[in-house]
Structures are given as structure tokens and as C-alpha cells.
């Protein structure tokens, strides 16, 4: 809110106009925050992460016992623990100077990119929803069903790759979009809150898929008793874009194309204009002739398609051994964090996705080489969102000026 309106609104001790609901204003606050607060939230989360690394490190604890006798030991151990942890993370995520060949040295970066692709895709899906004022918690369900559809096309048909891959991708997008649109229609027609609906649809999708994966006449692989489908046909697997020595596959390019497409959608198309109008002020959008309900449905279809691409990326690219009921690998929820950190802007989501991809790649190295639980990475990720959602806290910690007029 500006200083001009401040004059008009402040008769009340609580200057927030209550209009479009609580989630709405929280989303708006996060989206309106500047890039600085995002960076600071990341920095702060790393600091808190350091404290936790230190507190759980045996050497640090031991030296703390005789801290006053020899403090240098303590600080040495502290530096070793924290420095070692983050060095391991960097080594696992960006550049491994210890590797013998150049190919080995840059391998971590390609791993980061591989992990980032689905996070970016799903993050875009959640972010587009945010821009329309919708909280899409249904990423898991959308990924599962889109992945299943793409996977089914991937193992059940025998086609040339040039046809097979696009067909599988389109089938996945279509199913993801439909599943997303279902939540949109329910909201538009009945006013059901999209958070409840999408959470419940996650369960529906999960158990539907589990059912299908344990029935021979549906998706289960022949001759198997595991809830898993047959592996993808060679012609349906996304090609490795840097050759077979790296795991990085076409999914990254899909993600980059999606970033550009979503940017264009939001900033150049009339649909995107209406999506933003509905998200920022549904009342004015309605009074201007925009059908808010139809826009919700359209947005959820787009969101479902984008999140679905993340599922497709997993099934056809990352884990091609067959569809499973946990093919989403938690990405549907991580996407919420990515979209929040990226402030629902396509480029922001790209950067946030890369950061979280690096966390994933680096987290494994941290665990194997420094024996620090990979859960710590999750804690740091969660702290980032927590700090993003509480800008006054970050401002207070870094002694930034208070924004009273807001």
C-alpha cells in the first residue's frame, strides 16, 4: 500500500483491508517482497543451518567441553564442521576439484541441473496459480497422474522416438491439465477452497495410481508382484543432452522453454493479464467483465500441465525403470517452496529451482562425505520459506528500516 492510501485507511488500528481473504494477502506479501529479502532469507537459513551442523558435530561438542581451557580448539572444530559441510555441498552441487578429469569435475553441476529441471517445472505450475491468487497444493497428484499417463504411452507403444516422446509428453500434459482443471472447476462452480480440494485430490490420485499399478490389466508390469509398471521403451526415454556420461536429459530444456513460455503468458498474453488481474483484485476483474471462475479453471489447467511436466520429466527422463506411486519424489511440495522463493516470477522460479536442485545434489555428498544428515538440507529449505513469510523478522535481524506505512 502506498503512502497516499495510508492516509485514507488508517482510521483503524488494523490498517489491512480484510477483503480478499487471508491466504491471498499472505501470497501478495510474499510476492511483493523485494529480491533482497529473498537473498537475505537464504543467507539467514544458511546461518541457522551452520549452528545446527555445529551443534550436532561430535568434535565441536567435545571441544566445547573444555572451551575456556582452550577456545582455539573449539573454533577450529567449528570451522572444520561448518566449512567442511558447506564445502561438501559445493563439491556435490557445483564443482568437484578433487575429481581427476574435467568431466568428473563438472559432473556435480550437471546433477544439479538434472534435479533442478522438475523443480522449475513444478515451481512454475504452483507460481502461475499464485499469480491468480490460488494456492495449488495439488502438485503431487498432478505429477503422479501426468507421469502415469506419459509412462503408459512410454511403455505400451512401439513408435519411432521422434513421435513417441512428443506423444508421451502431450498425453502427460493433458492428464495433468485435466486434473488441475478439476480443482479449478470445483472452485469456480461451488466455491470449494482450492487448498482443500487439491490436497484431497492428491490422495485420490495416489490411491488411483497405486490401484492401477497393482492390477495386471491396468499398469502393473507383467510377471511382477510389485506395484510398478514395465520400464519405458527405449524410444520414449528423454535423450541425454550432454552424452551418456552425464545423467542430464532433455527435461532441462523443457524446463527452460517452460520458463520462457510462462513469462510470455503472464506478461504478454491477454490470458496472463486477466490471470494477474484476478489474482490482484478479483472484484475489479469481475466488474471489468472478466469471468473469475473461468480464469480459475484456466489457470489450474495450465498449472496442472506445468506440474505434470515435472512428473513426465521423472518418468521419461530421471527414473525410466517404470511408473511407481512415489514418482513425484516430494517435488510437488518442494515446488511450493520454489515458487515462494522465486516470488512467482518465471525467472525467480528458475533461480530458486537451481538453488534447490543444488541442495539436492549437494545434500547427498554432504551426507556421504561429512556424515551430516540430508535432513539438514530440508531444514534449511524450510527455514528459507519461514523467513520469506516473515519479512519483519528478517528486517529486524538485519536491522533494515521498518516499513510503517505498509
Amino acid at each position: 500500500m502506498s503512502d497516499m492510501t495510508a492516509n485514507e485507511v488508517v482510521e483503524a488500528p488494523a490498517p489491512e483491508p480484510p477483503q480478499p481473504g487471508r491466504t491471498h494477502s499472505v501470497l501478495y506479501r510474499i510476492a511483493a517482497g523485494n529480491a533482497l529479502s529473498g537473498v537475505l532469507a537464504v543467507v539467514l537459513a544458511f546461518l541457522v543451518g551452520s549452528v545446527m551442523i555445529a551443534a550436532t558435530d561430535p568434535a565441536v561438542r567435545e571441544t566445547a567441553g573444555y572451551f575456556f581451557a582452550r577456545p582455539s580448539d573449539f573454533f577450529g572444530a567449528l570451522g572444520m564442521a561448518v566449512g567442511g559441510a558447506y564445502e561438501a555441498m559445493f563439491r556435490g552441487a557445483v564443482f568437484n576439484a578433487r575429481a581427476d578429469t574435467l568431466a568428473g569435475q563438472v559432473r556435480p553441476l550437471t546433477e544439479t541441473l538434472k534435479y533442478a529441471a522438475p523443480l522449475i517445472l513444478a515451481g512454475l505450475g504452483v507460481g502461475v496459480g499464485f499469480r491468480a491468487g490460488l494456492f495449488n497444493i495439488g502438485g503431487r497428484g498432478q505429477m503422479l497422474l501426468a507421469g502415469a499417463a506419459a509412462g503408459w504411452v512410454g511403455f505400451a507403444f512401439d513408435l519411432p522416438a521422434i513421435v513417441h516422446i512428443p506423444l508421451a509428453i502431450l498425453a502427460g500434459i493433458a492428464v495433468g491439465a485435466l486434473w488441475g482443471a478439476l480443482a479449478g472447476v470445483l472452485k469456480a462452480r461451488t466455491g470449494a477452497h482450492e487448498v482443500i480440494v487439491t490436497i484431497m485430490l492428491n490422495y485420490v490420485a495416489y490411491y488411483l495410481l497405486l490401484y492401477a499399478l497393482s492390477r495386471k490389466f491396468l499398469l502393473q508390469a507383467p510377471g511382477s508382484s510389485n506395484p510398478q509398471s514395465a520400464p519405458m521403451a527405449q524410444s520414449a526415454i528423454l535423450p541425454k543432452i550432454l552424452g551418456d556420461q552425464y545423467n542430464l536429459h532433455l527435461g532441462l530444456l523443457l524446463a527452460l522453454v517452460a520458463v520462457a513460455a510462462v513469462w510470455w503468458l503472464l506478461n504478454r498474453s491477454t490470458l496472463g493479464y486477466r490471470i494477474r488481474a484476478v489474482g490482484l483484485n478479483p472484484h475489479a476483474a469481475r466488474a471489468a467483465g472478466v469471468s473469475v471462475g473461468r480464469t480459475y479453471t484456466q489457470v489450474m489447467a495450465i498449472a496442472g500441465g506445468l506440474v505434470g511436466l515435472a512428473g513426465i520429466n521423472q518418468v521419461l527422463g530421471t527414473v525410466t525403470s517404470g511408473i511407481t506411486a512415489d514418482l513425484d519424489a516430494g517435488i510437488g511440495f518442494d515446488a511450493i517452496t520454489v515458487a515462494l522463493l522465486g516470488r512467482s516470477r518465471p525467472v525467480g522460479i528458475l533461480l530458486a529451482g537451481l538453488l534447490f536442485g543444488a541442495f539436492k545434489a549437494g545434500g547427498f555428498t554432504m551426507q556421504t562425505s561429512q556424515d551430516i544428515s540430508v535432513d539438514l538440507v530440508l531444514v534449511v529449505q524450510s527455514l528459507i520459506v519461514l523467513f520469506l513469510a516473515a519479512p519483519p523478522l528478517v528486517r529486524a535481524i538485519f536491522r533494515l528500516p521498518r516499513k510503517e506505512a505498509m
Binding site: 500500500m1 502506498s2 503512502d3 497516499m4 492510501t5 495510508a6 492516509n7 485514507e8 488508517v10 482510521e11 483503524a12 488500528p13 483491508p17 477483503q19 501478495y28 511483493a32 504478454r268 498474453s269 491477454t270 490470458l271 493479464y273 486477466r274 494477474r276 488481474a277 490482484l280 483484485n281 472484484h283 475489479a284 476483474a285 469481475r286 466488474a287 471489468a288 467483465g289 472478466v290 469471468s291 510503517e404 506505512a405
Partner: protein, 504 residues
């Protein structure tokens, strides 16, 4: 209580909302703070009430410098605030509302409602308020609710009362009664700060007038000053207070409304079978106290209401049952009564707001793509043509003053071909200078042959613009009368009296 504000400065970012304002309020005096919206009156009072901390300056009460860290401190020091939007709980009784935050309690925290009731009765009797302590707030007329707010302040022994734009929601009769109450409070020795931008009221009750513009005191005026003098002090230049317009050149009946009923989701009837017509080239002004069906009437015409029966025909085409988009595309212009809610997307730029109701087809859209060049050109010319004061077309609408925000809405609606203009409260919360401009635009639309349905709760505006006046009361038409009907008659009609009773 003698209140002295000395050099109060309050900044919001780069904007100085209050720039070294000094003010003295004596006991037994009504001190008017006159200024346009955004001039800094409310900011100053919020500093006094402890809602804001001044960046510099002192608050001195009876010779003693005080610092308030919140409204609680200010209340304890004897300052009472009567807010423009009442801070009352509808389902509580008068006594319950009055004691809220200051509850008389007996043994073990038992609520002593009788004590609160007695207090209300005592204050009510002392000042002749005539308020029943056991009435539910939601059952009371707005004027009485305001008295409850005053009682609330007095029950905490307020010696200085701040009235923040108190007449915005009142009928002319209720306004007169409020003026009487203010005089009584003054007679009992209370100090009163009266914030307003309505010149007539100022001249009626003020002992002293301080005019504020752009966060600064621009001068003091005597209550004997003329409207024109006060207005030009407020705006900083001479202002034309009377809208000059020629006799209407009437065309055919363009808008015909027949037996229109609007019901809300709870079954409450807001518009109760009204019929009227507007001819091309005339302004039909709908007068009435806020909440008598005007909002629902305009929203029904625009297709924004769901439960509508009866008929609304524009040049023979039925509008009831059509979508908002279809109605807008049949060339209906709409200035909604609350621009912040229905008129603008505050987080959009001026340019983006200018295409808000034209996101489906030309001139700014082709094949689903926004034609940014065309939109920017349009925004540039429109900003000049409609005198929208902002840095550039990429300024966020939310950062504009009320008047400039409203000019964006007016520009958007009037810059396309219209067969009907529905203008609801087109100058609410708008500065005097912008009011003048917007009124001229509405008259120009009328003169070009557009039928105009104007809704206003400001009698001044109704009288200035109307070719005919339709008075609404509780969702029904009281009467449709000529614009030279005396104000007192209009005022009485706004309370539901039929004109025959009055004219006689």
C-alpha cells in the same frame, strides 16, 4: 483540556505526510481541520491518537509534553476519537459496545453490565442523546450508531474529541443533529477537533479553522470566510464551485428500468420493484442515504448481481441475465462506487488499469496478445487528456492520490463509445480540484448525448449535476423531482417522506 501540537512531522518513505504542523485547541472550542483527502489531516490525528509516532514534534496537553505509544495512552490522557468507520460490534448492545476494552468488573472478573448500562444512560441523559443502552447496534440508524461512538469516548472521560469526517455517512438531518451535539459538547467545556472537507459544515460550527494542504498548515480562516475563499485555500488556486451546464438536449428514452427487484443471498430485498427511465442527453441523479439500494441498483445494471428480477432495457435490448462482459460490450460505462475494490487493480500500472475492461478485443488486444505499443500510446495521451498527475504511465495505480485514481477510472470509461454511463459516487474521497474536473467530464458526456445515471450521497453533487433527481429510500423510489427542489425537501425525502407531505 488545552491541546498544543508543535511542529509535528511524519514521513512515509519519501513522502512527508505531515510537515511541521502546529495547532492549538482550546477547551470549549470547535477547531476545524479543513483539507483535501491526502492533505495530512488523518495522519496528524493518528499521531495524536498514538497510532503513529511522529518523526519530530511535541504533543502538549495542559502544558505537559506527552508521548503516546498507542491509542490506550491517548485515551487515558483524555483524547477520544470518533472514527469515520464505526468501531462497533453489530450484535452487541449499546452498553456492551461502550464498555468494550474498559469493562467494569465485579468479584472474580464478573462482568458488571448494570454499571455499564447506568453509565450509558447517564451520559445519554446529560447530553440529550436519547440512546437505549440495550438496543443492538445493528438495529440502530447510522446517526445513532455515531452517538454510541461519542458515548464510548465520553465514558472514558474524554476531554478532547476528534471527529474524523463524521458526516460522510449521515443524512442532512442527521448532520444537523450532529452539529447540535457538537455545540452541546463544546458548551460543556470539551475541546473538539472536527476533520472535514465539506465547506458548509465548517462554516456552520467552527470557532476556528485551520486549513491544511500537502502536509502543511496553509493558514487559518475565520468561520465568516466564504466557500470560495476556503476552497481556494484548500486547493491552492481559485476553484469553480458551481458546475456550469446548459439545458439538456433530450433524446429518446435510452434506459428503461421496469419493476426491478434485487435480493441478496440471505433473502434481503435491496431494490424493491423500482421503475424509471433515463433519456439520452440527461443526467438522472439518484439521491439517498448510503445503503438504500443504490449500490445494488448500479450493480444490477452492470450484471454484477445474481438475484435480479424485472427488466433493464438499453435501447430496447434486455440487460437482465446477460454477463458483465456482454453488458460492457453493449457500451455501458461504469464508474463503481469503491474504486479501490471494483474500479482498479492497485498493484497494476496506470496503463494496465486503462485496459482493464478491454482485455478481450481491440484496440489493445489482438489474437490473445496484448498490444503493448498501442496500450502505451493510449495511456500517454489519456494521461494528458484526463490530467492524471503521476510520474509516468508505469506508476502503480495504488500509489496515486484518490483523485488521480478516480481520473484513471473516469478516463477508462469515458474514452470509449458509450450508450449509457453509470457513475456511482464518482467523486467520493476525491479532492476539490479533481471533483471539478470529473464533473465537467460527466457533463460533457451528457452533452454528447449519453444518458447518465448518477448515484451520489452528496446532495451538493446531486443538485449540481442532475437534470432530474430520483430519491431512493429502502430500495424504493420516493419520488422523481426536478433539480430545483429545495434541499430541505430532498433531505426529508431521503428519510422516506413523500413530497406531498413536505410541499404542503
Amino acid at each position: 483540556m488545552r491541546l498544543v501540537l508543535r511542529g509535528i512531522t511524519k514521513r512515509f518513505g519519501a513522502t512527508v505526510a505531515s510537515d511541521g504542523i502546529s495547532l492549538t485547541v482550546e477547551p470549549g472550542e470547535i477547531h476545524c481541520l479543513l483539507g483535501e483527502n491526502g492533505a495530512g489531516k488523518s495522519t496528524l490525528m493518528n499521531v495524536l491518537y498514538g497510532l503513529y509516532h511522529a518523526d519530530s514534534g511535541d504533543i502538549e496537553i495542559d502544558g505537559e509534553v506527552r508521548r503516546f505509544s498507542g491509542p490506550g495512552d491517548a485515551m487515558a490522557a483524555g483524547i477520544g476519537m470518533v472514527h469515520q468507520h464505526f468501531m462497533l460490534i453489530g450484535v452487541f448492545t449499546v452498553a456492551e459496545n461502550v464498555m468494550l476494552g474498559n469493562e467494569p468488573t465485579g468479584f472474580a472478573g464478573r462482568l458488571d453490565l448494570d454499571a455499564a448500562r447506568a453509565r450509558v444512560t447517564e451520559i445519554s441523559a446529560r447530553f440529550g442523546f436519547n440512546v437505549d443502552p440495550d438496543a443492538l447496534i445493528e438495529d440502530l440508524p447510522v446517526g445513532v450508531q455515531q452517538r454510541v461512538e461519542i458515548i464510548k469516548a465520553l465514558s472514558r472521560d474524554a476531554e478532547l474529541l476528534v471527529f474524523d469526517e463524521p458526516t460522510a455517512v449521515l443524512t442532512p438531518q442527521e448532520t444537523d443533529e450532529l452539529m447540535e451535539i457538537m455545540r452541546q459538547l463544546k458548551a460543556s467545556g470539551k475541546a473538539i477537533v472536527f476533520i472535514t472537507h465539506k465547506l458548509r459544515e465548517v462554516r456552520e460550527v467552527a470557532d476556528r479553522i485551520t486549513v491544511i494542504r500537502l502536509g502543511k498548515v496553509v493558514g487559518e480562516a475565520a468561520p465568516t470566510a466564504s466557500n470560495a475563499e476556503l476552497a481556494s485555500m484548500m486547493v491552492g488556486r481559485p476553484v469553480e464551485l458551481v458546475v456550469s451546464k446548459s439545458a439538456p438536449r433530450l433524446g429518446d428514452e435510452a434506459l428503461v428500468v421496469d419493476d426491478l427487484r434485487v435480493v441478496d443471498a440471505t433473502g434481503h430485498v435491496h431494490v424493491d420493484g423500482i421503475s424509471f427511465s433515463v433519456r439520452a442527453g440527461e443526467v438522472l441523479a439518484v439521491a439517498g442515504v448510503q445503503g438504500n439500494g443504490q449500490t445494488e441498483l448500479t450493480e444490477a445494471i452492470l450484471g454484477l448481481q445474481d438475484r435480479v428480477s424485472g427488466s433493464i432495457r438499453l435501447h430496447g435490448t434486455e440487460l437482465v441475465g446477460r454477463s458483465v462482459r456482454a453488458i460492457l460490450e453493449s457500451e455501458v460505462g461504469f464508474i463503481p462506487e469503491d474504486r479501490q475494490v471494483d474500479g482498479l487493480v492497485p498493484a497494476f500500472t496506470i496503463a494496465e488499469n486503462l485496459m482493464l475492461n478491454r482485455s478481450f478485443s481491440s484496440p489493445f488486444v489482438k489474437n490473445g496478445v496484448v498490444l503493448i505499443g498501442a496500450l502505451r500510446d493510449f495511456a500517454e495521451t489519456t494521461m494528458t487528456a484526463y490530467d492524471i498527475r503521476a510520474r509516468d504511465i508505469d506508476t502503480l495505480a495504488g500509489n496515486l492520490s484518490g483523485g488521480n485514481q478516480q481520473k484513471v477510472v473516469v478516463a477508462r470509461e469515458l474514452s470509449r463509445d458509450l450508450k449509457l454511463l453509470v457513475a456511482a459516487q464518482p467523486t467520493r474521497g476525491v479532492d476539490v480540484g479533481s471533483i471539478e474536473f470529473i464533473h465537467k467530464q460527466i457533463v460533457a458526456a451528457r452533452d454528447s448525448g449519453v444518458p447518465v445515471l448518477l448515484v451520489s450521497t452528496e446532495l451538493d453533487e446531486v443538485v449540481a449535476l442532475a437534470d432530474r433527481i430520483m430519491v431512493l429510500y429502502r430500495g424504493r423510489v420516493v419520488a422523481i423531482v426536478p433539480p430545483d427542489t429545495p434541499r430541505e425537501t430532498l433531505g426529508l425525502m431521503m428519510t422516506g417522506d413523500r413530497p406531498e407531505d413536505v410541499v404542503a
